[in-house]
């Protein structure tokens, strides 16, 4: 199982903890990846400006991955949505494909549509599976209530992305619950985080973010959990900026899914970059418990293994 890891622009520049935690989690779960340096912007921020620029940018990435015969794994929902859209258009629209490939040809590239675009969450859910993930847990959370945030561009337009049921998705909830946390039921869980308008219309963006976060809190969540740099930055850094301007004092801190999963996989919190979040999430560690049964089984397994080793060395 090997993917072309698509980090996009935001993660390396502004959300290093997502990159380090994702790499650590993937390594622990045995997912391989290749970094393609030539990748460029997925095209998402350019789509407001020029459709062709968006499509060319996106398709160039797909062509680069296809050249290496690798499926793409995106960590960002907006990158995922854009790459999916481009993939869809390149497969559906022959004349567009011809035009785009005509431009890509200048660099010796072309996209034939032989690869798949996946988000990290779908790789975890479909390729590894909930049971396999549970089998690798070092610890689980007890009494942790999470507001699971799906992210618009992963879910919709469902015809293009095919991530999960757009009306009643459960993929991310299952992944969150695999860590032992409870994924709370909250009315606004499928709503937008507000990030697409941050920088364009801050007041509107702020309204939407606050509304959503308040709904999460009201539904009993301790943290909101995202798997997208835009959503997370909006819930983390932007929430902090908003709170400093308003009289709302109690934030709903955001944790990246790879941080949440990483903690229960027993990955070092430095690698997970817990301290790099703007709104502190350090309290979450207190809710981690070692499951006695699980540890006993592991200890037994570990005891057996060394014996085998010694036997084999004797031979």
């Amino acid at each position: 199982m090997e993917y072309a890891l698509f980090l996009g622009c935001n993660i390396p520049a502004r959300l290093n903890q997502y990159e380090t935690s994702a790499r650590a989690v993937l390594e622990k779960l045995g997912v391989g990846w290749v970094d393609i340096r030539e990748f460029n912007c997925c095209g998402y921020p350019l789509r407001n400006i020029d459709f062709k620029v968006f499509l060319l940018s996106s398709a160039r990435n797909l062509a680069l991955a296809e050249k290496k015969n690798l499926d793409v794994m995106a960590l960002c929902k907006c990158c995922y949505g854009s790459l999916k859209k481009a993939d869809y258009l390149m497969k559906e629209n022959v004349s567009l494909k011809k035009e785009v490939n005509g431009t890509l040809e200048k660099e010796g590239l072309k996209y034939e549509g032989r690869i798949e675009v996946k988000h990290l969450l779908s790789v975890l859910h479909k390729e590894i599976g909930i049971e396999a993930i549970k089998g690798k847990m070092a610890m689980t959370f007890k009494g942790l209530r999470i507001a699971t945030h799906y992210g618009c561009h992963a879910l919709r337009p469902s015809q293009v992305v095919g991530f999960d049921d757009p009306v009643a998705p459960s993929l991310f909830d299952q992944l969150v619950e695999a860590t032992g946390a409870e994924s709370v039921d909250w009315p606004m869980r499928l709503e937008c985080c507000g990030a697409p308008l941050w920088g364009i219309n801050d007041r509107l963006s702020m309204d939407l973010t606050l509304k959503k976060l308040a709904d999460g809190k009201k539904s009993g969540a301790d943290y909101v959990c995202a798997a997208c740099p835009y959503c997370h930055i909006q819930f983390d850094k932007v929430q902090k900026m908003i709170l400093s301007q308003t009289n709302v004092n109690h934030p709903l801190p955001s944790i990246l899914y790879t941080q949440l999963l990483g903690l229960s996989l027993g990955i070092d919190k430095k690698i997970l970059g817990l301290e790099m979040n703007e709104i502190s999430i350090s309290g979450i560690e207190e809710l981690l418990v070692k499951e006695p049964e699980l540890t006993e089984q592991k200890e037994l397994a570990e005891k057996k293994e060394p014996k085998k080793e010694t036997e084999s060395t004797k031979q």
Partner: protein, 584 residues
């Protein structure tokens, strides 16, 4: 006399230009903050900053960076091995030649008391270093014109630099070669150093040099008998060898000499060695005088940029020093194109033909801007658009071999230009996300101005929107609008809209307002209608278009399968295209 005068002229130009250039680092203004800081203040802040760094633990960082990045150039190695080989060849070869050969009277002699340019290892090393530079120049030419490294743009400045270095090196090697075969040079050496006068001895020595070292003599031509050669060899050993290694050691010159030997007499008669000598020396002087104006100035500025950036940090370092560093960085750029190669948005150039999209080309425009030169509105708009078309991924900054903090440069230039009042339509895209995150570092009271200005500039083009009493024609007003909305096959679907308003009902933006129409203008279903009727003004002029989250709720839930969000996207594209073409 002529050469001494030339040297002083070159030195004077170099010195004055250096002073001028350094002064620009304290005078040029980049960013709004820098306009508040006077030149003397910047100068004293720099002195203070340098002294306090030198006498602190940060000196260790400086030493490390000096060794790894300035001397060994690890940052280039990380990018591209061939390029590193190229640069090390040119830079190491050039500097070693400068110290050992050009400044031999001052440096080499001081270290090796019995230095002669004609003895080994100096004679061999001189050629070795020269050949290194030539290999480097050859790789440079190969990369630019044969391999055609993507987005490596060759400006006149880059070509001049290659030509100048090539002329200095090749003239040097040809000079050496012609001197090897020139009879008059041979005679000069014999007269000066040998002290021989016996014609038989002179003949024997000459025969030996003709046979062994390729001197072209008008009097003697081989083959020579063993006895003469043996005598010549003895004389060579006693009179010449002590101060003159076998010319074969200067392998590049010797190889060239072998090739041109057939015309050796003509070369000597035409006094080609002295012509080449003048070319060689004058090319060096030209190089010296031109250096502060050329990309070769990076010999100084790149090192300074790397060192300054290793110990400076936004927020910690004084704003005066950051302003100075940013002006210096403009001179540190070598136009190597690494930033453009790694830039995230380069594909934009395929549709938006603005060279300022490329980071490496932006620098030149920003230089003009920072110098306070009067730029036309068109030029300013192009630079503004170029700096806005950036996802702020920091890749340019990470890969810059000379450590320029390009990201900060773009940010400062962006904010300065945005306040000049030209609407920037690209601000109405998620490219603004970063600006929103950096909101606290912008001038607070002016933060929203560019956003409002862009919206107003678009709305001002929409006459129908402004009229209170809207009288609409019964036939579609703008057929090209409808046919224009076909970029993605899905976007044509608005014609099947039957006006159920589901899109508007589920829109989180609409439901955020008590009286949405007042704030947003047309609502999603109305925009679908307007598009269907070809009412361009109504579709373009609504705030709804720019306040769309692209969350796809409307599109997902439309019972008729109208690609509402995609249509909104395309309307935005058309609106921007329409106003941008008029504005530029």
């Amino acid at each position: 006399m002529f050469l001494t005068a030339s040297l002083y002229v070159a030195l004077a130009i170099f010195g004055l230009a250096l002073i001028y250039k350094v002064s620009t680092w304290f005078r040029f203004k980049i960013g709004i903050e820098s306009t508040q800081i006077s030149t003397p203040k910047r100068f004293f802040a720099a002195v203070k900053g340098i002294l306090s760094t030198l006498f602190s633990a940060r000196i260790l960082t400086l030493l490390k960076v000096f060794l790894l990045d300035v001397l060994l150039q690890f940052r280039i190695l990380k990018e591209d091995t061939l390029r590193w080989v190229m640069h090390i060849c040119i830079y190491a070869g050039f500097f070693l030649l400068l110290f050992m050969h050009a400044l031999d009277k001052y440096i080499t002699v001081a270290i090796w008391k019995n230095y002669y340019s004609t003895i080994n290892p100096f004679m061999f090393l001189r050629d070795l270093f020269g050949v290194l530079v030539i290999i480097g120049v050859a790789i440079a030419i190969y990369r630019r014109f044969i391999l055609k490294v993507p987005r490596l743009f060759s400006k006149a400045m880059d070509i001049y630099a290659i030509i100048l270095v090539a002329v200095i090196m090749l003239s040097g090697i040809f000079l050496e070669a012609t001197k090897m075969i020139a009879y008059s040079d041979y005679q000069r050496m014999v007269n000066e150093y040998s002290g021989l006068s016996d014609p038989q001895e002179l003949k024997a020595l000459e025969a030996y040099w003709v046979k062994e070292f390729g001197t072209v003599s008008p009097n003697l031509r081989g083959p020579f008998d063993e006895k003469t050669l043996a005598q010549g060899k003895d004389l060579h050993q006693s009179s010449c060898a002590e101060c003159h290694a076998r010319p074969q050691w200067a392998f590049a010159g010797y190889g060239t000499a072998k090739v041109i030997r057939p015309i050796g007499l003509g070369i000597d008669q035409a006094r080609l060695p002295s012509i080449l000598w003048y070319i060689h020396i004058l090319a060096c002087f030209v190089g010296l005088a031109y250096l502060p104006f050329s990309k070769m100035f990076h010999i100084f500025t790149s090192a300074l940029s790397l060192l300054a950036n290793s110990v400076m940090e936004k927020g910690k370092s004084s704003p005066a020093n950051i302003a100075t560093r940013q002006a210096l960085e403009l001179d540190a750029c070598t136009h190597c194109g690494t930033c453009s190669l790694r830039c995230s948005v380069i594909m934009a150039f395929e549709e938006i033909k603005n060279m300022n999209i490329f980071p490496s080309e932006k620098i030149a425009s920003i230089k003009a801007l920072a110098s306070g030169k009067e730029l036309s509105a068109g030029e300013l708009k192009h630079i503004q658009e170029g700096v806005y078309l950036c996802t702020n991924c920091y890749r340019c900054t990470v890969v810059c071999p000379v450590g320029i903090n390009l990201q900060d440069l773009w940010f400062n230039v962006r904010e300065t230009l945005l306040q000049k009042g030209y609407p920037e339509f690209f601000a109405l895209s998620p490219l603004s996300f970063y600006r929103g995150l950096m909101r606290e570092e912008t001038v607070q009271k002016d933060y929203e101005k560019p956003l409002i200005r862009a919206r107003e500039a678009i709305a001002s083009q929409c006459d129908l929107m402004k009229r209170k009493e809207k009288v609409l024609p019964l036939t579609p007003a703008d057929r090209p609008l409808q046919s224009g909305l076909n970029l993605s096959a899905q976007a044509k679907t608005f014609s099947v809209c039957f006006g159920c308003q589901t899109c508007t009902t589920v829109c989180p933006v609409v439901s955020n307002y008590e009286n949405p129409q007042e704030v947003l203008g047309l609502l999603p279903h109305q925009i679908m209608h307007a598009a269907g009727l070809g009412l361009r003004d109504l579709a373009f002029g609504s705030n709804m278009l720019w306040d769309c989250l692209t969350c796809y709720q409307c599109q997902e839930q439309c019972p008729q399968g109208v690609s509402v969000t995609d249509v909104l996207y395309e309307l935005k594209n058309l609106a921007i295209k329409h106003v941008r073409e008029k504005a530029l």
